[in-house]
Symmetry: C2
Subunit: 334 residues, 2 copies
């Protein structure tokens, strides 16, 4: 479907589900962006879930979002169980404003929900020549180091910086060895999953996707990745007032209450310490890209370059959706 | 040697090398702390190197450190090639002061040197009930993803938070699969190094430590770890005005000029968004430690617990040093 037509359709669906036009548009933009950057797992495939959560009253379509200004640089937001996109949109805009005015913006958000891709928010700051961290927690997916039970979410670490080119540096990396979606697909097709990414329910390493689904996913780099996931849970949950320590509900499976997810944005002016940040980052990237390459490697890429390529490719084309998603769209629009 | 006696000896050696008494004491504290927490690679084994760098005039023993206050929360420090400990000590203290006064403190340091353990600085903030990030870059040790040449340092990610107990949460993790020191030891003993941690000079995976030393170390988790190392290089080098992009000199091997390392401290009041942070973090840690454990795992530990145990154990004992270090101490003291 053509992207603007799709945006209109999503907006219409959200408005039908009681969101204001303004909020519906924010959500539609974020979902279509996920499709364009090649992350359909964070795009249309979640639309029905969001609508279901609204219907079951665990997302509040008309939230009374409280914005508490703590200082010129620091803001705390109580999202009142809004859909995550809306709270995060307000949050990153506040952080950007603070950073532009004072050099630094810090925004903590509580009582929010799944907000899509962290990189989407970091990118908004980077476009204003700001450096940004975005943290959010998520439902249990990976086991803390030494544990036989999942507790941390895939808890991405997201960092973005201007690059002096139109392609921003956006690192948006989960701390899980493998995407749960990939295990789900493999369990359907019967394919094996790689070694070292998951344990079965008895805590034994497995390459059997079905056994992995009953067991746990592993963090990257053992104790170190587990520590990074823990850090993200503390920053986005404990620190902001959001849920934490495994209490964030799975948005697809658990309608017993709102998710109460927390997000944290840390935004800084890129040229606060040096006048020539753009020249410096340009030189940094050039040096790294010029290194001798491993056999078979054409180009050393910085985080964000692949996404940008996908975006540009998809931007000129119709957005493709699978049968399931098309059917869901049809039903939601009825 | 008894730790206070050792501190006095180190102080005396640094004063002999033209450091002020105050600066010499700061360095002695940091080096003895590294021994106490069980990180001798960042302790006494580096003392001769620091002294050599002073003698060769690539560390400035009497630096004119410029402290530029950008706002109540933000400070930029030009360390004038001081020994890293001194600049970092000033920096973390400024960041702590700002965070206590305004909720957050941001300090960028340029023209500094190797500052020892990042966790040492984060811990100072945590003891004041603050959350802290500490970033520093380092000489080339790991190859960017796809490259056949080392460029990033082991670039640690360091994050600390109060825990409502006397044992702080201090994550201080390199993004390298393996410590270079371990490869050096294995190359001497002829032991094999693990698979997947290094490549030989042709870019082929190797378990031969000697070949690994000629080749490159790999980042954790491939593209993701490479991205994290890149992030740390940008934050501590490009952003602050320090060296970056592989230009930080090896302190042991390269006396052709100062290191010009950059450090970045981001410190935040733990209870800025919630009043009961300590109660929340305590609950968070309790939930995770209570999880069912993998076979053979006695206890789920948070980052910092092992270090604390080592510190307590070593605190009551003499500090052990090997023959090489003892000889170096003797010569430096002559």
């Amino acid at each position: 479907m053509e992207k603007n037509k799709l945006k209109k359709l999503i907006t219409k669906i959200f408005v039908k589900h009681k969101l204001s036009k303004k909020h519906a548009l924010i959500c539609a933009e974020a979902l279509v962006n996920a499709e364009l950057v090649g992350a359909p797992s964070h795009g249309l495939s979640r639309l029905k879930m969001y609508c279901d959560r609204i219907k079951k009253k665990v997302i509040n379509p008309r939230p009374k979002i409280k914005i508490k200004k703590i200082s010129k640089s620091i803001t705390h937001i109580d999202a009142n169980n809004s859909i995550g996109f809306v709270a995060a949109d307000i949050g990153i805009k506040k952080a950007i404003k603070s950073a532009k005015e004072t050099g630094f913006g810090l925004v903590g958000i509580k009582n929010s929900g799944h907000y899509g891709l962290s990189g989407y928010y970091a990118e908004q700051a980077v476009k204003k020549n700001l450096i940004a961290f975005a943290f959010t927690n998520a439902p249990p997916a990976i086991a803390p180091h030494g544990a036989l039970k999942s507790l941390f979410g895939t808890n991405p670490i997201c960092f973005g910086t201007p690059t002096n080119s139109k392609i921003p540096f956006i690192l948006d990396t989960s701390v899980s060895m493998i995407n749960r979606g990939k295990i789900r697909v493999a369990s359907r097709t019967g394919e094996k999953i790689p070694e070292g990414v998951a344990l079965d329910k008895f805590g034994k390493p497995t390459t059997d996707a079905r056994k992995a689904l009953e067991g746990v996913q592993l963090p990257i780099a053992g104790f170190r990745g587990s520590g990074l996931a823990w850090m993200v849970d503390i920053l986005s949950g404990v620190f902001t007032g959001g849920n934490h320590g495994g209490k964030v509900k799975d948005p697809f499976d658990d309608f017993s209450g709102p998710q109460n997810i927390g997000h944290l944005f840390i935004v800084m002016k890129a040229n606060i310490f040096v006048k020539n940040f753009n020249k410096r980052i340009n030189e940094n990237i050039k040096r790294i890209r010029r290194l001798p390459k491993l056999k078979g490697v054409k180009e050393i890429l910085y985080p964000g370059q692949n996404k940008y390529k996908r975006f540009n490719y998809n931007y000129k084309r119709e957005i493709k959706m699978n049968e399931t998603v098309l059917n869901e769209l049809k039903i939601l629009n009825n």
